[in-house]
Amino acid sequence: MTTDLQHSRRQFLKITATVGGGMMLGFSWLKPYGEAEGADIITDFIELNGYLKIAPDATGKGSLITLLSPNPEVGQNVKTSMPMIVAEELCANWKDVRVEQAPLNTAVFKRQVAGGSQSIRQTWATLRNAGATAKHLLVEAAAQEWGVPAAECEASGSFVKHASSGRSASFGSLAAAAAKLTPPAPEAVKLKDPSEFTLIGTSQGNVDMEAILTGKPVFGLDQKVPGMLYSTALRPPAFGQKLKSFDDKAAKAVNGVVQVFRFANDNKIAVVATSTWAAIKGKRALQAVWEDDGTLESTASQYEAMRKKLDEAAEQPKRNDGDVKAAFATADKIIERVYESPYLPHNPMEPGNFFANVTADKVELSGPAQAPERFRGEVAKLLGRDESTVSIGLTRMGGGFGRRLRGDFVLEAAEISSIAKAPVQHVYTREDDMTAGIYRPASMYKFRAAIKGEQLVGYHLTGAGLNAGNVVRENFFPAGAIENCLMESHDLPSKVTTGPWRAPVTNFLASAEQSFFDEIAEAVGKDPVQFRIELFERAKANPVGKFEYDAERSIGVMKLAAEKSNWGKAPAGVHQGFSAYFCHNSYVAEVAEVKMEGRRPVVKRVVCAVDCGIVINPVAAINQCEGGVIDGIGHAMYGDFTLEKGKPQQENFDKFRLIRMGEQPAVEVHFVKSNTDPTGLGEPTLPPAGGAVANAFYRATKERVYVQPFVKVMKNLG
């Protein structure tokens, strides 16, 4: 399967033509509906490689540089930071740069995925090379024109300069000649030393800022093309039910409803209408009869089943170092604690939606997608089409948090369009989005610690999750630091659909583990930070088995967080809690500070220390870190999602509580200065947040909290 490059070149031109063009922005590359090809199309853009194209500016003296941002933008700000990396190596003036979102184009781009905090880490080298290769060509073009050695020429600020002759030429004026040169061999392309960076490490505003501030249509739901219809779907109301029959008389009587039909293996009903409201009203008017198709699960019995599992040994442990049994048998003291967490819906602010136009020879899709390449394959399979006939445009996403890694909304849109024989904007209502979820699985952990003297000598973790896969992280701390370490995981089958949710598994595992370590530190009479540092020192000095983290970098963030928070020296009335975690290749330590307001403990501040290697765009990196902390705290404190007989009990924001203005702490972010290659920030600050807060609550109230959401058990939280 390949994508026609000619086609992708056309897309570039179309995108260029529609900047500021209003309604169609974001998906105007859809050929049949693209903007009229007016006189304002800039046709002399020269594409130097798939990531960039350059033209002279209107004065002819400067440059217009368009950088394609390959990865989906879900709020992690890669649409600004990825082009910054290209621009750095290109030696472009950032003011000359315009950024366009690339569509799915696997012929040019690698891994167009927003997930796992991997966008920057996995494209770092490619993006730098794209910029540096183009710079090489521009310098070469100038050198040839001037008849001087390329080595005497330098690029900076979108110009190539020859110092001794004082000559200078803009990238825009050189692009045409550069495009005719043979691209350099990879080893001839020189990358900058991090000390030479002038753009990376500086704060640059979000490239979509103006569109966001003025309400331009940049999100999936904002797409509209001539003749487009709107669709909604009615799905089984409970996990474990299926559609028996339905009556669509009332639905069809709704003004604007044009079609009603069964789809998705006859298990869902589509309502197609001329407006979003008609599609929603039509769906509400459907009379459907559902029948049970297996057991209908409820939260209470699911929790019982998980609790029971925690007392069983797994068939195959995930990790088994030393002799855990002996360590516990000879321990002076054993601590055992169980932690519980519920299912969580993702609740991106923009509910699920997708545009689809399925015609006889092609399938055009566009919308908010975290994993478009996978969706293309799934749609091709569903419709029996060749993948080369399926295209996917990427809109800005109103959040994702992992929800848009699954393509149910894309598949529904494509199937509905193919049956309705019309372009459709398929819309999930908030209720659909929350009840037809791909949830963070509910899970539980039992932690056991064997203590001898002042030492932690044995560690036994048992996890159980519902349709959750492996719920332990056998190569993360404390693996490597403890001689006797046993980790076991149980996966209980369930009909409730689950999937990745921001920092899968670790979003709760870290919170529970870091609360437990606070208890162990207390039991051995050590300062919680010092206690952890000693364990990491053990992993450095006497590593036990394989593990993934770097103990030195772990210690680095812990020391930085302690220093910046004045750990242990908080003023009277301020109660601090500590937590640290490594995941998604980045290192984070957090100190939460709680004050009592009457009988209510309130989280006032979180100090967050981060080691993610080189920081590309500090202002956006801080936004991500702060967002992760607030998300982690919000869900640990308030997020609850339950089922009764298979039916979700929370359907909208009246019942599902998200953290709101005034409930968030101040967040202070500090980065470790580093020249190490960058790693991601979309997830790593979330996992430690719940534990830091739980530990601070303990200092403030003398109560340990083992259950998420905390409001369920801490009545004073309000």
Partner: protein, 151 residues
């Protein structure tokens, strides 16, 4: 369907819609004003916040028939050149993450500043409580409101 004359961002529009159609969908589907967002449809998230005679209201929870003679302002009409003090402050603080909630946040904040030019923390918390930001930009929003208030 019924016919309505409504005034949005200073312009009169003739729209045809069922009387129970939420203003939100009229703005988006009929008038192509996509800045006003759908988040919950039940008045719980604030993504759809607009001004109704200068007051912050949830456009998902009022029908086109409710509009009558009222002057409706959406994010597109907040200022002519994106120069409202809040828009300037939002740039200065680089507030948005995904950006989806931000139009609603700005419209709520604009109504707050119009009635309370120098809000304190409690007043900001109370006025902005109705607007959810799933990405957690609350601290930046608060800082930007304070910057705008000081201008």
């Amino acid at each position: 369907m019924a016919k309505y004359d409504i005034t949005v961002n200073g312009k009169k529009h003739k729209v045809e819609a069922d009387p129970d159609t939420p203003l939100l969908w009229v703005l988006r589907d009929n008038l192509g004003l996509y800045g006003t967002k759908y988040g919950c449809g039940i008045g719980e998230c604030g993504a759809c916040t607009i001004h109704y005679n200068g007051n912050a209201m949830r456009s998902c929870s009022m029908t086109v028939a409710d509009v009558g003679e009222a002057a409706i302002t959406t994010i597109e009409g907040l200022s002519e050149t994106a120069s409202h003090p809040l828009q300037q402050a939002w740039r200065e603080h680089d507030v948005p993450q995904c950006g989806y909630c931000q139009a609603g946040q700005i419209m709520s904040a604009a109504a707050l500043l119009a009635s309370t030019p120098n809000p304190d923390d409690d007043e900001i918390d109370a006025a902005m409580y109705a607007n959810i930001c799933r990405c957690g930009t609350y601290n930046k929003i608060k800082a930007a409101i304070k910057s705008a208030a000081s201008k």
